[in-house]
């Protein structure tokens, strides 16, 4: 690792100020960033740990009925405390492994937007609102391709608000080594329609499968899931071809619909 200093502010305001320094970088749970630093693929001058900011932690139900999760909330806490949105709690409880879930945070995961991470599919599939220290961003506007988001430099995810659907489920087909999603499909049925978000599959990162959404909004059953999408534009790597990933998108969507509760 290159050398850097560590700052541990206790308020969002102080963190934002610290992140204003040259080459400053936010440290959430560090479960992706620290391995990256070890490989010397990043060289911040100062890491700003968000772990000590109490106002960014916790799970609660907001006035509008949505589930509000602080950006610094760990996966383990979401798994334990997001019972109001069972599919989301289940997703969080199956990210990485127990030790990773005790450190990794929702804000960190969404800020990184790994194309194979689980949380982006939940946020996009739920039409969540990403709340930062500066603004609120709709999930549909937030995800901008692999590892790319609408966040500005130094902007901090303080909270994520999930509208709670009537039914939802997340189905992950794991990449056998990393246990990230080879393909993950998040299906959520709301009063005004169904959202289907796919992670792990596309070269553009997490995306909504609009054909499936239309079909499922008309008839929410596994049989209604359309034929699997084309493999064009799907990730093709050591672990799976684009065509196989596309096939899995279809299978996992059906299974998510069948399991939705």
């Amino acid at each position: 690792m290159y050398s850097f200093d560590m700052e541990s502010p206790s308020t969002v305001a102080d963190a934002a100020k610290a992140l204003g320094q040259d080459e400053a970088q936010a440290l959430g749970g560090g479960q992706t960033l620290i391995p990256t630093l070890k490989q010397r693929l990043a060289s911040p001058s100062v890491l700003v740990s968000l772990a000590g900011i109490a106002e960014m932690k916790g799970v609660c139900t907001a006035d509008d009925g949505s589930l509000a999760i602080g950006g610094g909330t760990t996966h383990a806490t979401v798994a334990a405390e997001a019972g109001a949105y069972a599919a989301l709690a289940a997703l969080a409880g199956n990210i990485g492994d127990p030790a990773v879930r005790n450190r990794g945070t929702i804000g960190g995961s969404l800020a990184n937007n790994d194309p194979s991470a689980c949380y982006p599919s939940a946020a996009l599939g739920s039409g969540a609102t990403i709340v930062t220290n500066k603004r609120e961003i709709a999930a549909d506007d937030y995800f901008q391709g692999m590892f790319a988001t609408a966040l500005d430099e130094g902007e901090i995810i303080t909270e994520v608000r999930f509208p709670v659907p009537e039914k939802a489920s997340y189905m992950k087909f794991e990449q056998p080594a990393s246990r990230f999603a080879l393909v993950g499909v998040f299906v959520a049925k709301y009063a005004d329609g169904v959202r289907v978000a796919v992670t792990g599959a596309s070269e553009e990162g997490v995306y909504r499968w609009s054909e499936a959404e239309a079909a499922l909004s008309a008839n929410f059953s596994a049989d209604a899931v359309p034929a699997a999408p084309s493999g064009d534009g799907m990730i093709s790597d050591l672990h799976a071809s684009g065509d196989y990933r596309a096939h899995l998108v279809g299978v996992m969507t059906k299974r998510a619909v069948a399991a939705a509760s």
Binding site: Y2, Q39, F173, A177, L238
Partner: protein
Amino acid sequence: MPKDQGIGASTKRREDVRFLTGAGNYTDDINVHGQAYVHFLRSDVAHGTINGINTSAAEGMPGVVRIFTGADFEGVGGLPCGWQVTDKNGEPMQEPAHPVLAQGKVRHVGDPIAAVVADSLEEARNAAEAIELDITELDPVVDMKAAVAGGAKVHDDLSSNLCYDWQFGSETEAVEKAFAEAAHVTTLELVNQRMVANPMEPRVAVGDYSRANDESTLYTTSQNPHVIRLLMGAFVLGIPEHKLRVVAPDVGGGFGTKIFHYAEEAFCTFAAKACNRAVKWTASRSEAFMSDAHGRDHVTTIKLALDKDNNFTAVHTDTYANMGAYLSTFAPSVPTWLHGTLMAGNYKTPNVQVNVKAVFTTTVPVDAYRGAGRPEATFQLERVIDKAARELGLDPIALRRQNFVTQFPYATPVAVEYDTGDYHATMDKMEELIDVKGFAARRAESEKRGKLRGLGINCFIEACGIAPSNLVGQLGARAGLYDAATVRVNATGSISVMVGAHSHGQGHETAFPQVVAEMLGIDENMIDIVHGDSSKIPFGMGTYGSRSIAVCGSAMVRATEKIINKAKKIASHLLEASEADIELKDGQFSVAGTDKSVAWGDVTLAAYVPHNYPLEDIEPGLEETAFYDPANFTYPAGAYACEVEVDPDTGAVDLVAFVSADDFGNVINPMIVEGQVHGGIAQGIGQALLENCAYDENGQLLSASYMDYAMPRADDLPNMANYRVDHSCQTPCTHNPLGVKGCGEAGAIGSPPTVINAIVDALQSGGHKVDHIDMPATPQRVWEAMNG
């Protein structure tokens, strides 16, 4: 009633206490006062000419002690190869130089180019980034068949990329005749994919040097510290053995990959003297992936001939075996003598011919990995037999049984002689454990849930207890493979046994004392094993090839026999009786037919405090050394079975049951033996379903971390209720004193074809005409096989 100590007892492991409390002493736990750290600058291209290395900027960086390049090793020896194969024309294999740091060319991603020694690791890494490399990329050499067809050469001074073209076994004419006369011939092309051994402890080396007495010490993660001392001292650095100490303390797993002599350990030893300062290297896991010798990587076409009565009449194989960029220590022996000699399997096939082309490529060197050659042989043979059974509509168990060797000793057409075995017995046991009769009902139940269920069975034999020195010398080994033990009895009767075997998970510290305790009739806890330090042990060839108890254990028995003989002499003097009348039982020496006896401790005390002692007849002291050279290999064998469920929607394979029936001969500690089988099976299942060391066409390593190399996890393996390992079939080895055969590799040898046979069976049951699936049988491969 199970025994509570001695041979056959499941004595709990004494070494566990330190490992469970964090008190183990692994190489990375060792810091030498004032040590510096080395970081290796490694090639990021597969193949290239080094035009220049400019270290001037880096040398001025903070903390830098010294920067080494290949030029610093001119005049120093290269890493030696311990085995020479003679090709089918009687010519020696092509043997390239293997410099400690690259000279002139880089030949694989990870090839070390420069080494930066600095006060801290981060400073070394900083300086390495400031080294300017001028490398002209050359065409990578990745595909083995293309590599021997022409194109770029990995080593410009060799005539081609072919290391050797080897032929072994029955005469060509006889084999061709058998195929011509066959009623049926089954052919199969298959890949035994490249694997990475991945012991959980990455390799570490700490070199130290004492100016006071010109002595070098190397602490290293090795399975065989004496072999490293011999190879590094004599062939690389020119340090006489009495000036070189090699210590392998607690070692966190080996699986073959810590047998070999590596550049990094030679470098640390060399640099410690050059810098007059201890130098430490600790591999990161990413570094391990591109510097640990890999395993397997064979591409084979196998043909099996059967007569009209379904007797096997001939086996013929053509294999391409990847050597990687250089010859690792034992690399040439793996596809030849550890593979060709096992190609008869458990069967009395009269004609067996094995052909192997070993090929240089611009990839990490390939050498022995758990099983080494024998998994490759078993996989080919057992897959082609399964395919033949299917083609002929025969029961795969009956076809195997019909062709079993049943008369022992049995001389195969591939040079080895099986001393003993009972293949029907292990097959019977396997059939009982997996409940073959109940399979149809289980399959029907799986089908109700939309799953395809398959049953796979497999037999195997291996050659262990490596190895009879005279024989392996004729086969090209440049060193004998005996082992040694010294039994040192102290005055108060406690014992230190210095053994050449090295324990890195096998539990020698517990199992070896069980043998000595049994022979002497004393408490196991009076006996300690000393291993892993060349300064404390006379000699030893280390631990690999399931050899420790069969070879080193036999040496220990011989040394203990010498102790008993001498102790009886002393006892006869103390008891004033004839030596011939002295009996040793339960730690007491007694005079036959009398009530006169003397205890173990009295005899040992007399040996060291010889007040009343026949000094003119017997020397004082009680310490004996024995070297043991086995008369033959040992031949563990077994029958394995498993059941899989395939999800037809995704191709995912769920391993729902696995059983093994092994014949290891006599067993010293059943608990430890079963543990070895558990681990071997998990690695074999890993090979069958998960693990794959892959290169792209540019020679870039794609699976270079645990993010991409799929290690088996707890939830990848069968549940306890559907998993059995059995070793109750025991035909003791006929030529070593303990009747033991070795158990370390069986699981890894027997399990891969078992799993693939089961998957093919499952797919066939769903109407898919699938003959074979290459490993690892990933969901995509299975799904494509079903839908291709």
